[in-house]
Amino acid sequence: MGRRETKKEATQKKILDVSLALFQKEGFGKTAMRDIARKSGIALGTTYNYFPTKEHLALYFFERALDEVMARYRKEEPPDAPLEEKLFLLLSIELEKIAPYEEFLHLILTHAVVPTSRLHPSSLDSQRLKGRYLDFVGKLLEDSKDKGEFASYGFDSMILSAFWVFHLGIMMFWLNDASRKKEETYILLDKSLRFILNALRGKAPPRGRKPRR
């Protein structure tokens, strides 16, 4: 993470790790805050201080995951790559990040459909997460525009919202992908990004970018 972890962060991380393990083992609904506190050896009050509900915990998981994804992306970004490759990299880092928590994510999904849930896509907390993510993606889009990859259409915010939905769709597909190493997801990701970006550029898919044989 680049900077030194403070004690507070260490405690939060400890609680998160323990709860993720419990969620995966016992289920999200069946795990009580009390169990989490006991297992992590932290007073129940302190635990509540950091995370008033299990949903706060789940959100914290996503926040942290996003931090790590962005950090890794910055390290690995191929400088001269077209936007489809950059987005492919970003999403594949995300998928790699969440891969160990597949079962947990399935549980969260069922939870997130409840409209009053903080995890519901329209909740303030979810919106904040989405905002951070789309800021990041927006910068990638800006970069590509600066390089002349796209014209400016004046509806960037709509493009970004659509991208958010696309990104959730890919996650859903990934969760249900039974292929070897989930390669169907990556094929879908590759082909759909290519398709979407060519549509944005207003041209047919490029043929023959490959060298002649």
Partner: protein
Amino acid sequence: MMGAGRERMPTGAAGRLLRLGLMGAGVLGRNAVARVRKVGAPEGARAAIDRETHEANAARIFDAMTQMKGAFMKLGQMLSQQAHTLPEPYIRRLSDLQWEAPPMHGTLMRMQFRNETGKNPEDVFDEFEREPFAAASLGQVHRARLRSGERVAVKVQYPGIDRSIDSDFANLKAMLSTIRLSREQYGEVWEAVEEIRRHFHREVDYVQEADTIDEFRRLLRDRGDVEIPRVHREFSSRRVLTMEFLEGLHLRDYLRTKPTQEERDAAGTKLLDLFFRQAFDFALLHAEPHPGNYLFLEGGRIGLLDFGCSKRFERRWVDEHRDLFRIPIGDATELERHYLKFRFYDDRDPLSGRKRDALLRMHRLDISKYHEDRVFDFRDGAHLREVMESLQDLARLGLTQSGFVLYVRAKIGLYNLLHELGARVNCRRVSRRYV
């Protein structure tokens, strides 16, 4: 792990099926429209309508194939060389496929490499070029350098291809049934598709390709003038093939260096010899007669690439086939006896007369050059055309025994190469060593 009993989204196949279903409906629709338009139209106009319909269908099938990559790429390519009964516009569009395949960007390619070998390319190689230098039908080929300093070519396959083969082939068959063909033509195409499907299953597996390469290297050990790239197994898998880099030129580039006639003749002789050696000594044929698979190297050596699709013949088949070269040109009785033995047809066959004539014609056309001790000029385009036509006749008559098809296809592919190379070869001197 995922919980038991949770419903899984059907992957891949459904989408492809849908696409094909839609497209199939389109093809069917057009054919139906054309059928109606043709009623009562004069002969010439009918042909034009047929042509128009075929053009349009060929274009949409082509589009779908290029988009779906995978099985279809390869299939299109092979059908274009093999299914002589497909209407001409299909063949034209299909042969375009040879030159195009969607690329993988560096990130996807690295990921595929990592999934296959457990390591990133940069952890294994001293240098690795992110941009491919050549397209392969199922993926792409990158230049790299091993820690030992040796230059290698790394062929990386696009992900998920093997999974899609069977569903793609099922779709293709459904699609083919919408093209109007006569019963015999249909049988021909169907058999071709089946044969290709079997080959294809082997071809997607680079471990098998590596085995074949090793076998060819062993068989051709004594031939200093033929190079086959050495495989580096430790950096290879089912979908990644790392091999010695052959420094050579493809035919087109070789011709740009303006080789002398003698050089062309020498290369041509070498290629023909290589063919006979494979077919009759090894009973194992490099069955990809595509010009991209030959490299012209320094000092007149020939490089052979792409061992994904080799054909093994039974010894008995080879021995019997050898006889064909010994039968005097025009000796109908002898030739007929030969083909009856081969079971190309039998006496009860109503087409036996036409079949015999077609085989006799092919024999005269093709085998004559192996009976005369003189230089045969492959630059003669008329000859190549006649052989092709003759092959089409055979196909139309249903003379498409599977080993025979591959053998003849490989041979004609070679003639085509010799034609483009502009070579003159004393065919008898070559064949006499083997048959």
